[in-house]
């Protein structure tokens, strides 16, 4: 369970490790989008971690990276096909971002640092934690943008008017992510100061 908490807070892929930011900026216009992509990434992360962890003894050290890439690409293709078959409307909104999961540095890095050394169970929870961190990050950005941009959450009109259309425009993704990162930074500095005082 500590691994999960790690993935969400201390090593949150979007806000702390600053990896895989492409979708965070691009399609986090609504909570629903963030949720769906987050689930896709969670699925790929967990499956890849488990697969690599299961075959870690068979991987020749010189072909590590191609093997990781192959595994990730396989699982991405699978989730891509499943989503396009069963949820075509939502899939159309995400465009090519589902296919681009294969290029996310976070998944490859996680496999390199964790899955190829740790047993299957630990890899599963680590992958789950990372994916969950990504999911929560995407949903929170989507929440802010949707609320401020179209006054709705998950499609339900909450405010009844549109405060700042700017936030739905794709470029606002940059601003929101930047501000949220600053917020996380602030929390970290705050904690360090507190610890500093105590010590």
């Amino acid at each position: 369970m500590q691994l999960i908490a790690n993935g969400i807070l201390k090593e949150n892929p979007i806000f702390r490790l600053a990896l895989s930011m492409c979708p965070a900026v691009g399609i986090s216009t609504t909570v629903m989008n963030g949720l769906l992509l987050g689930i896709a990434v969670l699925f790929v992360q967990v499956c890849s971690s488990v697969t690599i962890s299961m075959v870690k003894n068979f991987i020749h050290p010189r072909i590590r990276i191609p093997t990781y890439t192959l595994t990730i690409a396989t699982w991405v293709t699978v989730i891509d096909m499943v989503l396009s078959a069963y949820m075509p409307v939502a899939y159309a909104k995400m465009g090519i971002f589902v296919k681009l999961i294969v290029a996310f540095a976070i998944i490859t890095m996680r496999l390199e640092m964790f899955a190829c050394k740790e047993p299957v169970g630990a890899s599963f929870w680590d992958g789950f934690g990372m994916g969950l961190g990504f999911l929560i990050g995407m949903m929170s950005i989507g929440f802010v943008r949707e609320l401020l941009g179209s006054g709705a959450i998950l499609g339900y009109d909450v405010l009844g008017f549109k405060p700042l259309l700017f936030f739905i425009l794709p470029s606002a993704g940059f601003f929101v992510v930047g501000l949220m990162m600053a917020f996380f930074n602030y929390i970290e500095i705050f904690y360090k100061r507190k610890k500093g005082f105590k010590a």
């Binding site: 216009t29 068979f58 991987i59 020749h60 010189r62 072909i63 191609p66 093997t67 192959l70 595994t71 690409a73 396989t74 293709t77 699978v78 096909m81 499943v82 396009s84 078959a85 069963y86 075509p88 409307v89 159309a92 941009g149 179209s150 549109k162 259309l165 739905i168 425009l169």
Partner: protein, 298 residues
């Protein structure tokens, strides 16, 4: 040396396993994909005709698909229609070829059931077989004729035209006199909050009840929608009051979306183009069907 051999062996093995997994999933999901596409299309069709879902449709309402092809061969270019001729359990079809001036060129019988005709590959194959070699066929578009008791209730036409960014794909429901019964936006790539508002009711519903003559000269006007009209379009008032207001604005131009004049214009021009071309072609086809006394179930 042994190293390289092991590497290649393991890599090939993993590639094969990966390919196998993906292949299985592909076969499993492609059927579901086709089915879901069909279901989504039906949902849009039913909502355009005013029904909430499939259960509200009366049993006497039938849907007939009319497919249009462009046939090029040694004799020049022809427009061919795959017309359902009804009768018999097989639900036979006829392929009616018209030359470019609208005169009948050829009629060939095509035996294919309505379900199989919905799949593009089987349809193309059946038509090519009926026409013989030497002719190239290119699929153009499809019209759905909604019929009740051998009469015509509505036409469902799809079309694609350029919007502000890339293409906009729409489905129109037309009454037999070619006035607009409903408009549904199927696909677009417009900006969210600006051009994407073409999906909203207060824009789409402005097209409802516009007659064929009004469509010919329909333009976009850059004024805000009057409050009452807006309420009527979004179905926020009593039905008879809404009717009265709609009738008032029946021949008015389309009110443009704020900050999306170009998108509004492209939709207006696109709808006009689709309806004009459809009316022209259907009239020609009807004339020929009547002359040749071809029996059709609508």
């Amino acid at each position: 040396m042994k190293d390289i051999v092991t590497i290649i062996f393991r890599l090939t093995l993993s590639c094969l396993v990966a390919g196998f997994i993906m292949g299985t999933f592909f076969i499993l999901t492609s059927k579901a994909k086709k089915h879901n596409e069909h279901v989504n299309e039906e949902k849009v069709m039913y909502s355009l005709l005013g029904y909430k879902d499939a259960s509200e449709i009366p049993d006497s309402l039938k849907f007939y698909e009319l497919y249009r092809y462009v046939v090029s061969g040694p004799g020049g270019k022809f427009i061919g229609y795959l017309v359902p001729t009804g009768g018999g359990k097989d639900g036979g079809h006829s392929f009616v070829s018209l030359d470019l001036t609208g005169k009948l060129a050829d009629i060939k019988k095509v035996s294919i059931s309505s379900e199989n005709a919905m799949d593009k590959d089987s349809r193309d194959k059946a038509i090519a077989a009926a026409l013989g070699s030497g002719k190239d066929i290119l699929y153009a578009d499809k019209t759905i004729i909604v019929s009740e008791n051998a009469g015509r209730n509505a036409y469902l036409v799809t079309g694609k035209f350029p919007g502000f960014k890339n293409f906009v794909s729409v489905m129109l429901a037309l009454k037999p006199d070619f006035s607009v019964q409903g408009l549904a936006i199927l696909e677009h790539e417009e900006d969210p909050g600006l051009g994407a508002e073409i999906e909203k009711d207060y824009f789409k519903n402005q097209f409802i009840d516009k007659s064929f003559e009004t469509l010919k000269t329909l333009d976009v006007v850059k004024e805000p929608i009057p409050e009452k009209y807006l309420k009527a379009l979004e179905n926020r008032m009593q039905k008879d009051e809404a009717e009265k207001i709609r009738r008032q604005f029946k021949n008015h131009d389309i009110y443009a979306l704020t900050g999306a004049t170009i998108s509004s214009r492209s939709v207006t021009n696109g709808v006009r183009g689709i309806v004009q071309k459809f009316a022209y072609r259907l009239n020609i086809l009807d004339t020929v069907l009547k002359e040749q006394k071809i029996v059709v179930p609508f």
